[in-house]
């Protein structure tokens, strides 16, 4: 008698399968991967002003778009597609096999990471090519970028899986999830300069990870001189790390405890 494959092995295989499935859905590939780039092109072209010495709005916006990319591919994508899989009965079928829940989650995390990497590369490519965004030369900034992306994806994935129990049906999921994401984007300094938003909006946004992700991304892609323009007069990367960790724990906790495999 052979042993059953480990949860990690199955998780990696599920990741491969998820990517293959995703790549075959042409509409969602285009929507998820190209949409942020299109937004960047539109906003970057319309608002070409300088908002501080050596800082254009396009640069500010690029940092925000990378951060929202993490929220879109993880939280939004999963909270919409998992209820669909549940409606199809695909989740219940998986539940009836020896595949453990953790493998399913690992597979989703892999899917999110891979589409995130593609999206970031595209955004950076367009940013450099068309909007004069300079790549940081400081190694520390790249280290910050790496943990922000990693922790941001993990957090976003966990919260997406956790939130997937909220929509009652796959068809209604988009209507529940998308407004939340769009409102957060407006409140978190993606489309507007954060410090110019009303204070109550800033305070509300500070509860959620997106505000911290955008701020963290600005610390990577904007000159350090801009830090004084932030609400706290600094990048607050330590605080960002803490907020993301807390949300990651919340997301994992609810994913493990409350995940629903079946419709009823």
């Amino acid at each position: 008698m052979n042993k059953i494959p480990s949860a990690l092995t199955l998780g990696i295989r599920r990741g491969g399968l998820e990517i293959r499935q995703f790549a075959r859905q042409r509409e969602s590939v285009i929507f998820t991967l190209l949409f942020p780039v299109i937004l960047l092109l539109i906003f970057g072209s319309v608002f070409s002003d300088t908002i501080a010495p050596d800082v254009t709005f396009s640069q500010y916006f690029l940092a925000g778009m990378i951060a929202s990319g993490l929220v879109n591919t993880g939280f939004q994508g999963l909270a919409i597609t998992i209820p669909l899989e549940r409606d199809f009965g695909a989740l219940k079928r998986l539940r009836g096999t020896p595949m453990p829940a953790s493998s399913y989650f690992i597979g989703k995390a892999i899917l999110v990471s891979v589409s995130m990497v593609i999206q970031i590369l595209m955004l950076l490519g367009f940013g450099v090519a068309f909007f004069g965004v300079a790549m940081p030369s400081d190694v520390n900034k790249w280290i910050t970028f790496a943990w922000l992306t990693l922790l941001g994806s993990a957090c976003s994935t966990a919260l997406g899986i956790a939130f997937s129990v909220v929509p009652k049906s796959g068809r209604g999921a988009s209507a529940v999830v998308s407004p939340i994401v769009i409102i957060l984007q407006f409140f978190s300094g993606v489309f507007f300069i954060f410090t110019q938003l009303p204070t109550w909006m800033q305070q509300f946004a500070s509860i959620f990870p997106l505000k911290w992700l955008t701020q963290g991304m600005r610390s990577v892609f904007l000159p350090d001189s801009f830090a004084t323009q932030e609400v706290a007069k600094s990048w607050e990367n330590g605080k960002t790390f803490l907020v993301l960790i807390i949300w990651l724990i919340i997301g994992v906790f609810f994913s493990v405890r409350k995940f629903k495999w079946d419709r009823d």
Partner: protein
């Protein structure tokens, strides 16, 4: 040891008592069909055995394991069972062979992928995307995914709904083949002829209780019930219920001096018996 052992199983949803004290033993290697109208407690019972639902009371052992348990032991247990659910429809962006191959990776000793594809008759569709399959072909894929892990026990929930007669016959042959390998099968179905063709024993369930468990030929006293003999006498069609149909036919043979016009001798079908048991009469 029995593959499935259930005593005093109970389950309620609020005020609705879906399962009210069911006892059930299914031997290893047996094909057992659970029959009952919608809402009888069939699905609830089976889903408790499959580990999908909790129960309010009673003891359940499936391959020596309590399906209520979780963790690694549950994985080992699921490695030994196969489940074909009532309705599953994937997003369909994978091919038949990709899907079956992937699922085979979940088990410690899976069956050969090509062999399974062949046994459900999907050879020609192996490279097709799932979303391009017909309803019957999808159902056969469901069955393939249920048996890919080489299960000791297979749950089949209304497996042939939506099949054409030819596909149903092919499916029955597949099940007979699994029986030959010693697989225990718990089948729920709406088709009485299916239960009759496949099952060693059938159990009729209604209002959350088992009414009777017997072989298909003996259910409801079927084998000993009266036979109905009909024949034509001039312009009339005559019929008679009798315990001794042979004697009656002999009598008629001498009366007609040879061939009896339009002779039929029938005993109640499984369907007649079943409908009587659940309180409906045959039209």
């Amino acid at each position: 040891m029995n593959a499935i052992e259930v005593t005093g199983l109970r389950k309620s949803y609020g005020d609705i008592h879906a399962v009210q004290g069911i006892d059930l033993s299914i031997a290893s290697g047996e094909i057992f069909a659970l029959l009952g109208p919608n809402g009888a407690g069939k699905t609830t019972t089976v889903e408790i055995l499959e580990g999908f639902r909790s129960r309010d009371g009673g003891d359940v052992s499936v391959l020596g394991f309590d399906p209520r348990e979780e963790g690694h032991a549950a994985r080992e247990w699921r490695n030994r069972i196969g489940i074909v659910l009532q309705s599953t429809s994937d997003s369909g962006d994978l091919t038949v062979v990709e899907t079956i191959e992937h699922f085979s990776g979940y088990y410690s000793n899976p069956r050969n992928v090509d062999e399974v594809i062949n046994s459900v008759g999907l050879d020609e569709k192996a490279g097709s995307l799932i979303r391009k399959l017909s309803g019957g072909q999808r159902r056969r894929l469901d069955v393939a995914l249920g048996i890919i892990g080489n299960p000791e026990l297979l749950f089949l929930d209304e497996p042939t709904t939506g099949f054409d007669p030819e596909a149903r016959r092919a499916f029955w042959a597949l099940i007979q083949k699994l029986r030959g390998n010693g697989t225990t099968i718990l089948l729920t179905t709406h088709y009485l002829d299916e239960a009759e063709a496949l099952a060693d024993r059938v159990g009729v369930i209604n209002n959350g209780q088992i009414l009777e468990i017997a072989t298909p030929t003996e259910l409801g006293g079927r084998s000993t019930s009266q036979a109905l003999v009909t024949w034509r006498d001039g312009s009339d069609v005559k019929s008679e219920n009798t315990d001794n149909p042979t004697a009656l036919v002999n009598r008629l043979t001498s009366k007609f001096n040879g061939e009896i016009p339009e002779l039929t001798v029938t005993r109640p079908s499984l369907e007649d018996i079943y409908l009587k048991m659940i309180g409906l009469t045959h039209e």
